[in-house]
């Protein structure tokens, strides 16, 4: 279950192709791409800079992927998360889950994103016309993660 934290952009099509090529039992691929927006909290955003905690970030992502594997019958998980300075329309994160059938892939993909949002040590700082500011954590992300606990393991 590959996890990559990198400055470079990624090619989702290529990544998906590589992930599923080796396993003919895969019948479903669910993918999510997070993208940098040009507006946040009503202000135009010029750049988005992502800081992370090297070492812990990779461990946290691997742990989240392990939880997804323990919970659903999936073939593989891939997480690529970018760091450094990004601009609106740039890709930020890719999550790909492969499985025999679509149900597990959809669930596991959303689960990985909800946990990544609240457990993986990344921080966003955005530059607006008024200067730079750290992005605040959103309660909605915490609620999204809590749903998975409410629905049981």
């Amino acid at each position: 279950m590959p996890v990559r934290v990198q400055r470079e952009d990624f090619d989702a099509g290529r990544e998906i192709g590589q992930l599923r090529a080796a396993d003919p039992k895969i019948g479903a691929v669910a993918a999510f791409i997070g993208v940098a927006r040009d507006v946040n909290d009503g202000d135009a955003v010029a750049t988005l800079t992502l800081e992370h905690y090297p070492g812990m970030t990779e461990r946290a992502l691997e742990e989240i992927c392990a939880q997804a594997r323990a919970r659903w019958n999936i073939a593989d998980v891939l997480v690529i998360h970018r760091v450094g300075e990004l601009r609106p329309t740039d890709q930020i994160v890719l999550v790909v889950v492969t499985s025999a059938h679509r149900g597990e892939a959809f669930f596991a993909c959303e689960f990985v994103m909800d946990y990544l949002k609240t457990e993986a040590p990344f921080w966003k700082k955005e530059a607006t016309a008024d200067g730079t500011r750290w992005v605040d954590a959103r309660d909605a992300d915490e609620h999204a993660r809590a749903r998975w606990k409410a629905t049981g393991a």
Binding site: Y53, M56, F122
Partner: protein, 85 residues
């Protein structure tokens, strides 16, 4: 007991440092006690830890709680709620 303390994001900027090695007194054995000890040192720790909401901690690169025990040589990190994805 010596611990390496790391700070990230808004907290790193407020403290104007990203890491420090601290020899903590024997009475400091948990995350919460380390945090209280840092704050008791005065500025900039006192106002930074007070102003930044919901600061979280990790020990040896795994999420920790207030009661999590420290150990000699531990890498302890303090940071604001995460905002990746």
């Amino acid at each position: 007991m010596k611990v390496t303390v790391l700070y990230f994001a808004r907290l790193r900027e407020a403290l104007q440092r990203e890491r420090e090695v601290i020899d903590v007194p024997a009475t400091v054995v948990t995350v919460a006690q380390l945090r209280a000890w840092l704050v008791a040192r005065g500025e900039p720790w006192a106002s930074s830890f007070a102003e930044i909401k919901r600061i979280r901690a990790a020990i040896d690169q795994a999420m920790a709680q207030d009661a999590s025990p420290l150990h000699d040589g531990a890498e302890v990190a303090f940071f604001p709620p995460v905002t990746g994805g």
